[in-house]
């Protein structure tokens, strides 16, 4: 049982980290704001999600697990909104404004 949880933790957190890496590379390499946003949202969504998933078995009881999940939800929310706002600004002022 413990071993299974450990494997889950290691693999999920590693996968999450990989998404972070990919997202960061995308942020640095992609040409314009909208594609960069696209890279960022992937990180927010999957990267944090996988890390949280991996950490769940190690959470401090139910309340700890709930806190972890709510962190993920909050990151989702803020990520989505901020992306919207930036994209809106880009559309209004053009990609270089």
């Amino acid at each position: 049982m413990n071993l299974a949880f450990d494997i889950l933790t290691v693999s999920a957190v590693s996968a999450g980290a990989l998404f972070f890496l990919a997202g960061t590379v995308g942020l640095l390499r992609f040409p314009d704001p909208l594609t960069r946003l696209h890279a960022l949202t992937k990180v927010d969504n999957l990267g944090v999600g996988l890390v949280v998933l991996g950490l769940l078995p190690r959470a401090n009881g139910l309340s700890g697990a709930l806190k972890l999940v709510s962190i993920w939800l909050l990151v989702q929310l803020s990520g989505a909104i901020v992306t919207q706002l930036i994209a809106g600004a880009v559309r209004q002022r053009g990609p270089h404004g």
């Binding site: 909050l74 929310l77 803020s78 909104i81 919207q84 706002l85 809106g88």
Partner: protein, 313 residues
């Protein structure tokens, strides 16, 4: 062990690199973005130093609130940019040498610690039980060194007064010109409707849990301030006029209650800022809640800036 020290080294390199780029960046805007990232990395460093209370404060205030203030400022300064004065090379070299000297001095002091490292931690823990608190940092802030904490709240109020006093005479008592202007946006409005209830719960939790675990009035107050600012920026609530009696009352309620309990201690517990035995924890929690409110309002108003338009009747 090896992994953790590797992590620390990477973290330190990142912090130094991004810190240096806040100084070296050519544009103020880029420097500020670097600073926000820097603040978050620093919060991780604080976790690595086993100081979760400080990490929370640093993330909330050092990165978040300060970053927001700076962004607001740079947005206004942009039109006036292009300040071509450059410091001359000899001056820069001299300054560099002096700063290197100071860094070296600090580094020496850190590299040569005393043989027996003295600590107050055991003494803090020994006496903590009397107060009923579980968080030693809260113990230091509200029991042993309560005088500093109380006076620091007065500092906050003075800073706010200092900011307000910069208003034009005609605008006195009026509405702060909140520094971040955005076009009304439905997305932002949505966020400002959705987030504050969650934020307020988190702030109250932060303050409540602070007695026993990392958290407390500062951290809770900062979250409260952030929620309030969000609502004001989205235009859901007007920025209040600084002459409003309720606003002034909220600002001082924390320190006033703190001071009153401190003075009551002179009569009931034998010393200023001492708590009567058995009542310490409820009194401290009361003070913390009042302070959370006052800090939240004060931080929010500090970020909002001096009044710029007279209040319309």
């Amino acid at each position: 062990m090896i992994i953790s020290s590797f992590f620390d080294i990477v973290l330190v390199v990142l912090i130094l690199g991004i810190g240096a780029s806040t100084i070296a960046a050519r544009e103020a805007f880029a420097a500020i973005i670097c600073f926000v990232v820097y603040g978050l990395l620093l919060a991780i460093a604080w976790v690595r130093l086993s100081a979760a209370d400080v990490a929370l404060t640093e993330a909330a205030i050092g990165g978040g609130m300060t970053g927001m203030l700076m962004l607001g400022a740079v947005a206004r300064l942009r039109s006036a940019e292009g300040n071509d004065i450059r410091t001359s090379l000899p001056t820069r070299l001299a300054a560099g040498a002096m700063c290197a000297l100071i860094s070296a001095g600090l580094a020496t002091a850190i590299l040569v610690p005393p043989e027996v490292i003295p600590t107050l931690a055991p003494m803090v823990m020994e006496n903590l039980a009397q107060s009923g608190l579980g968080n030693p940092v809260a113990g230091v802030l509200f029991v042993y060194r309560a005088l500093d904490t109380l006076l620091e709240k007065v500092v906050l109020i003075l800073a706010l007064l200092g900011v307000w006093s910069l208003a034009p005479d005609g605008a006195w008592g009026g509405i702060p010109g909140l520094r971040v202007y955005t076009q009304p946006s439905r997305t932002l409005t949505f966020l400002a409707q959705l987030l504050p209830p969650v934020g307020i719960v988190v702030a109250v939790y932060m303050c409540w849990v602070g007695a026993n675990e990392p958290g407390g009035a500062f951290q809770g107050g900062t979250i409260l301030a952030a929620m309030w600012l969000l609502v004001m920026i989205a235009g859901l609530k007007r920025v209040p006029a600084i002459g409003q009696p309720w606003l002034r009352l909220l600002l001082v309620v924390g320190p006033v209650i703190f001071l009153a309990i401190g003075l009551a201690g002179m009569v009931l517990a034998g010393a200023f800022l001492a708590y009567p035995s058995g009542y310490a924890k409820p009194l401290i929690v009361t003070v913390e809640f009042a302070l959370t409110l006052s800090i939240g309002v004060a931080l929010g108003l500090l970020a909002a800036g001096p009044p710029e338009q007279a209040q319309r009747q």
